[in-house]
């Protein structure tokens, strides 16, 4: 404690106590100013319950921080630990797509402190002046060198750091193999769409955003996941419209229906595939052999974040390798941070769902910024949904 721990007047003590009770100063400030810090530190060695909790960030970061993120993407216990350490509660807002996040930020007044954009969106956020450059001095746990580069380089635009890596993953499909009647598990996007229109009719789900739904339809024909070519998109549209009557739902919240057996197959992100596979081994996670999406998510701070200090504190907390390792164990999305991986059990690092074989991985593509903002793809998906 750097504060002067000398005695203070009785009156001043009462004032400080009131401020502390009202919550306008943190416990640490109170203890420091009143000199009680020393006393409790001494007492603390005898009575463990009295030991001051390690304050995470110096100073008062407020009582809350608002995080916009994806479904099933965090370990709730970590948030509780963050609250313990800093006094700030983490409010989690869950989104279904990057398009939705972008729309909310473009409209303004989102109130978010931290959000989790995917690689292909960051240049757009920078271009639209919606996020702020990160001050790495406030992120002591961020070590650029420990991240695998292909999963961290999208965080910098023109040499300026705007976002730090969270997790990476793939977009494949999850399939309930118990409904296959002994047929082999499908391994390609072609089989995914064919099965949708035949044996799994009425049982398949696709995402409700354009990037992966159109991208994986393009893969049926072997086109690029990121294609914006008119003719190729027309082919994909025809496939989607043919498949639509056979779909169970168009939704990115696919875990509940997959778990209760209403849906048998769905487009799926790594961690969700892992989470379902752990609880129900008959649900397999498959990467289409033709390719598909490889992605990397980041933490970023939107411009005008109302609790800026808490935002930095939360990101830094989640970048802590020990915290991050707990996150990975909870949600099943791989981390690109070597320090985190060093803490993970060997079985997890060899898990084929998290770390697919090289030939499958090499076929994947990162989503492109142009794919996200392409008006024709957006309009195509809207036609598909309203058809």
């Amino acid at each position: 404690m750097t504060k002067d721990n000398g005695t203070i007047s009785k009156q001043k003590f009462m004032e400080e106590l009131r401020r502390y009770q009202k919550g306008s100063v943190t416990r640490r400030h109170f203890l420091g100013v009143t000199g009680l810090g020393m006393a409790t530190a001494v007492l603390g060695t005898a009575i463990p319950g009295l030991r001051p909790r390690p304050a995470f960030a110096a100073g008062d970061i407020g009582d809350r921080v608002i995080l916009a993120t994806w479904p099933n993407y965090h370990d709730e216990m970590n948030f509780e630990a963050f609250t313990e350490a800093t006094g700030a509660h983490v409010q989690v807002n869950v989104f279904g797509s990057n398009e939705e996040m972008l729309a909310k930020l473009q409209a303004g007044g989102s109130g978010w402190d931290v959000f989790v954009p995917t690689n292909y969106t960051i240049t757009t956020y920078v271009g639209e002046d919606l996020i702020i450059p990160l001050d790495t001095s406030k992120l002591p746990n961020y070590d650029a060198g420990s991240f695998e580069q292909r999963f961290s380089d999208a965080g910098s635009v023109d040499g300026q750091l705007y976002a730090v890596p969270k997790n990476w993953g793939t977009t494949g499909f999850a399939v309930n193999t118990s409904k296959l009647d002994g047929a082999p598990t499908p391994t390609t996007w072609k089989e995914f769409w064919d099965l949708t229109m035949e044996g799994y009719s009425g049982r398949t789900m696709v995402h409700d955003y354009q990037l992966t739904t159109i991208g994986n339809a393009l893969k049926y024909f072997g086109y690029s996941f990121n294609s914006v070519d008119e003719k190729e998109l027309a082919d994909a549209e025809k496939l989607l419209l043919d498949a639509k009557p056979h779909l169970f739902a168009i939704s990115s919240d696919y875990q509940p229906p997959m778990r209760n057996g209403d849906a048998w197959m769905t487009m799926c992100w790594t961690g969700d595939g892992k989470q379902m596979n752990v609880d129900m081994p008959e649900i397999a996670y498959v990467l289409g052999a033709e390719g598909g999406e490889l992605w990397s998510d980041y933490y970023a701070i939107p411009k005008g974040a109302p609790h800026m200090d808490a935002a930095y504190a939360l990101i830094d907390f989640l970048l802590n390798p020990e915290v991050n390792a707990k996150e990975v164990l909870a949600h099943g999305y791989p981390s690109a941070d070597a320090r985190t991986n060093a803490l993970l059990p060997k079985e997890l690092l060899e898990d084929p769902i998290l770390y697919p074989a090289a030939d499958l991985l090499n076929a994947l593509e990162f989503g492109a910024a142009a794919t996200l903002t392409d008006p024709n793809r957006a309009e195509l998906l809207a036609r598909f949904k309203s058809a």
Binding site: A249, N260, D262, E379, K385
Partner: protein
């Protein structure tokens, strides 16, 4: 203070509120509907009729809404009317208030949670499983227009029951007795006395439900699995996914115009039917 000044003072807050919070936003949407989509989405000022020319691309959404909204209204009416009749005419007054309250109580739980309860009921482990145990196989209910219809009727039933109840309650019971004394069959009494007198309630209930259904988006989103698309869903999609604000504004303006036209026609029709020149009151 003069009478005029007093009136102005009483009217000003409401008037200013409506101008700022209603007229201004509508004006902005109107202006936006002639603009263009920005490169990364959003809005770029322009003057073009392109967005309106593009409206046919959302024809299916309008068609779904214009089919399912009246259908849902009629379904709610068919289910609500006998209940309102029972409550107003047949039920003993002792129970009436409590039973009426029971109609509103479900309204106090979020429509979101109630709709999710229907996911469970209509999902594979709910009703279809029950049907299967009695030998009706392979029924799929969830994520169909039927599921949306059930959700609609469920969500809006109280709004239909109440106005009909009020109009039936006002009805002089002696009229019914007189009609029966004159040798009229119950059905004839109903058709010639009760039904015509409850027209205002029916009109109000239908209008309330219809108006709300035209802008509905939650129930189709939750119970339709993203496959049953209303104009409301198209709007959410345009503003929150494709971020085409200009086009979204044009669709919103069109929806407002379609509603104003349908509702005015409906009001004309009802007031003629009721044989009164008085406009139908919303409440």
């Amino acid at each position: 203070m003069t009478e005029r000044g007093r009136k102005a003072l009483l009217l000003a807050p409401a008037g200013i509120w409506l101008l700022v919070m209603l007229a201004l936003p509508l004006l902005v949407v109107f202006v936006f509907s002639f603009g263009e989509r920005g490169a990364a989405g959003g809005y770029v000022p322009a003057f073009t009729l392109e967005q309106y020319a593009n409206l046919p691309a959302r024809w299916t959404a309008f068609k779904n809404t214009l089919i399912l909204a009246p259908l849902g209204t009629i379904a709610a009416l068919v289910i609500a009317y006998p209940l309102a009749y029972f409550l107003a005419v047949r039920c003993s007054p002792k129970w009436r208030t409590s039973l009426l309250i029971l109609v509103i109580v479900p309204f106090w739980t979020s429509i979101l949670i109630r709709s999710y309860a229907w996911i469970f009921i209509l999902g594979g482990r709910g009703l279809p499983a029950l049907l299967e145990s009695i030998g009706i196989d392979d029924i799929r209910l969830i994520n169909t227009p039927f599921a949306v219809l059930v959700g609609i009727v469920y969500g809006y039933l109280p709004l239909m029951v109440f106005p009909i109840f009020v109009s039936l309650d006002k009805l002089d019971k002696r009229l019914l007795e007189a009609s029966a004394d004159l040798g009229s069959t119950p059905w004839r009494t109903f058709r010639q006395v009760t039904l015509p007198l409850s027209v205002p309630g029916i009109a109000t209930g239908c209008m309330l439900v219809f108006i709300l259904l035209m802008g509905e988006f939650l129930i189709p989103a939750i119970l339709g699995g993203g496959k049953v698309f209303f104009v409301g869903n198209a709007l959410v999609d345009l503003f929150l996914q494709s971020r085409n604000w200009a086009y979204g504004s044009a669709v919103a303006m069109t929806l407002v115009v379609v509603m104003l036209v349908t509702v005015s026609i409906y009001m004309k029709f009802i007031s003629r039917l009721g044989g009164q020149r008085q406009d139908v009151s919303l409440m």
